[in-house]
Symmetry: C3
Subunit: 165 residues, 3 copies
């Protein structure tokens, strides 16, 4: 019995990195698990929160100066992220996105949308949200919940937790 439950266990992905390739890997794993009819939760924390930020993210207005400064430096959002390796001022990203299109691999935002439509639960880390001076309105519509580390651990229990950092 216990084994059977484990086989059908939830895949709980913790995304700590904001690098484009890490987000793509998370979506890729999520989509494969969903295709195998496993429940999936994606929890985005720290730089990973960038993946959930709207382009028109307002954390540059009204927030304390430091949050605004951090927001200005940390400009990535759901539709565009830096590569962790070979970003090359954007040239690496451009090349990779072209290659992906040729191989019909959708970019991050589209993959996340697809995973969300297929039932993946998307959670934004509340601590990071506060730290960056953001509110729920600054996040894309796919976000189902804003919650803390405890929520991640609760979901990870009994399931399979993988951290993509």
């Amino acid at each position: 019995m216990a084994e059977a439950r484990q086989v059908q266990g939830e895949l709980v992905l913790l995304v700590l990195s904001g690098d484009m390739e890490k987000g793509l890997a998370a979506c890729n794993l999520a989509l494969a698990a969903l295709a195998a009819e496993r429940p999936v939760t994606l929890f985005f924390s720290f730089w990973g929160l960038n993946f959930l930020k709207r382009k028109e993210c307002k954390h540059c207005v009204g927030a304390p100066l430091l949050s605004r400064l951090l927001g200005w430096i940390n400009r990535d959002h759901a539709a565009s992220q830096r590569l962790g390796r070979f970003h090359l001022g954007g040239a690496g990203r451009w090349a990779l996105l072209r290659l992906m299109r040729r191989h019909r691999i959708p970019p991050f935002r589209e993959s996340l949308e697809m995973a969300h439509r297929m039932g993946a639960r998307v959670i934004a880390c509340s601590t990071t949200l506060g730290l960056m001076g953001l509110s729920r309105d600054d996040l894309i519509s796919e976000v189902d919940e804003v919650a803390g580390a405890m929520a991640f651990l609760d979901r990870a229990r009994g399931g399979q937790a993988i951290c993509i950092s």
Copy 2:
């Protein structure tokens, strides 16, 4: 029965990275698990060992030249680490630490102390220690044990292992 054990399973965190944000994430997870009365082990390896180095770490004295050189380049320690992203020569770290203080999020060392007081077991990787020319005396007092990969795997068995790299 088996499921009940899993629910109460140990959280075993493997920290391979020396980036400040990764250490904070590890402590954050550890504290949340401890608050939920789960046992926690933190295993620090490779650059992650920096998190356990004393400020007055003596790996620059007496060790072979290469270890000393590595130690000089790799100056981070328990009280101060580089950010993996937006370090900006220290300005990014300064801004993040200020933001954290404003949100009452303690820096790494204080979080680790708290986790340790709450019962988290802190292990330093013996292989890395040897490689860097360090001894137990170069590590902070929170370190409970110096052990190898086998110890990590043993603890991870039956529990939940998460690698923060």
Copy 3:
């Protein structure tokens, strides 16, 4: 019963990073698990695929221009990889490899060979392979299988999955 199975569960390592230290950590964990007679699978994806590329990797010939460009920039292979931290134009790697030799820690390729001989299964991510314009012939002989994310998840079920990113 269920617990006994978990104790003997497979260790399934997902390597997303191409940084030398991450590959070494993966091999180290794999070898420790193999020594404890646990089955091990190493799944290399994204930049991690570099660890499986032959030195004479031909993705610079015949492939579309973008793949060739990516291949030229992304020159690392099974016998030589950049460090993620303190690479210092190769000096950091040189120093670390020397230190490792002194401590009788073999470099990545030798560790992988050893793990493979001891029974570890080495899988290359098919999606990444296609994206980089590579074929099976461009990979080292230790690769047992070319497969997708689904294969990783299947193996991770019931076992212990750790992502080294």
